[in-house]
């Protein structure tokens, strides 16, 4: 057969698939950017982050029927992504790239701002993972303390303390360098 779809699909089946595809495409459109950024900050490597995002969305497509509430999509995808990341670590420990070696294309207007961003970027990458992860959930996805606690299965007070320490550490380091 030359065409890509099965000739024997009944209209209702192709309707279901179409509906599933529409839901999936909406997820990709709305969330792929932030999901990629989160993956990037988790692994600090563009290519690895891209791979994890591919795996995440592949799993999302396969188990899309289990996502009942669209509002939970963000948390659902993050959970898949974290699992994929952990799985990769089980398979092999990859070399992490030093942030200074990565050319980051994120050009922001204003030389001063850009310098500050570059500085901060390096500092953020050097935060320990237990601080970096809740911070990224906060600044990329706009999660509040409670949502982060649910996502990471931590106590809310622990999350608030980690967020404070993460921000405090970054701020101190920035202030010192200025």
């Amino acid at each position: 057969m030359t065409t890509s779809r099965n000739q024997n699909e009944t209209p209702s089946v192709s309707g279901d698939i179409k509906q599933k595809q529409v839901r999936y495409e909406r997820l990709v459109r709305e969330l792929h950017g932030d999901i990629y950024r989160y993956a990037y900050w988790l692994v600090k490597d563009k290519a690895v982050a891209e791979d994890i995002v591919q795996e995440t969305f592949l799993r999302a497509w396969k188990s899309l029927d289990s996502l009942k509430d669209e509002k939970a999509a963000k948390a659902w995808l993050i959970t898949i992504l974290r699992r994929e990341n952990a799985r990769r670590f089980e398979r092999k420990q990859f070399d992490l790239v030093d942030m200074d070696d990565v050319s980051l294309a994120d050009e922001q207007p204003g030389y001063e701002t850009q310098l500050e961003h570059n500085e901060l970027r390096g500092l953020m990458a050097n935060l320990s993972e237990e601080y970096r992860e809740p911070l990224m959930l906060q600044v990329i996805f706009g999660f509040n303390g409670e949502e982060i606690a649910n996502q990471l299965q931590l106590n809310k007070n622990t999350v608030m303390t980690r967020l404070f320490r993460a921000r405090n550490q970054l701020k101190d380091a920035l202030d010192k360098e200025i």
Binding site: T2, T3, E50, W61, A105, M124
Partner: protein
Amino acid sequence: MNDAEFRQALLVEPFTSDSTVTDKIEGNAELEQLQSEYQAFDKNLRETAQVDVPEGLMASLMNIPLQQETVDESTSSQSEKVVPITSRKRNNFVQLALAASVAFALGLSFTMLQNQPVVETGTEIALAHVYHEADYAMQLDGNVSLEDVNAKLATFGGELMAKFGRVTFANYCFFEKQKSLHMVVETDFGKVTMFITPKDLDRAIDNSFSDDKYEGSSWSMQTADLTIISDKEMKVADKHEKLLKHFRFSA
């Protein structure tokens, strides 16, 4: 809330609306200054986290369902050959149903083999897609955004310059094994089908062609080929070329 707790809460959420924090700040110039400093820092953090998303990532994620469909089809056709009836507990009805489905699959493959032409030209494949999708893609009344269309076109080095009609369907398909893009566009002169195919297409598409129901035209662009097909009754083959100007293909 003591002073340390207050500073901690403010640094973590400098835009907070929590009244225990905001009440303390109100009217206190020093604390207002501290809040705006923390707010600027928060903004800086959020901006820094916004690293660029790789070009083409969205398009390749959008393609996952189609890839899976291909994988599923190949694995399901393999598994049809081996129908394990391992459990003796299966009742006769299940066995009968399995036997019937195997017979059906065999019969179907036989019919498909009988009907399958030995070699199809690119033109025949394009027309086959149009016939095959007549009840599906042509009937869909979607509204694919320019951004989505361009994410898919980018795979072929193409770009739709501005929306010239309503793109009601845009999905990847396969010409034999070569990934192509199948679009349906509602233009000023009616719904037309478009195919964007790779330049190295194994089976060439004729520059101009028709059969009993459809007529089509095909152009070789810089990075891909573009084919437009419309219903003969619309009598718009001479207008196909007008649509080219909306596209740009570059390496």
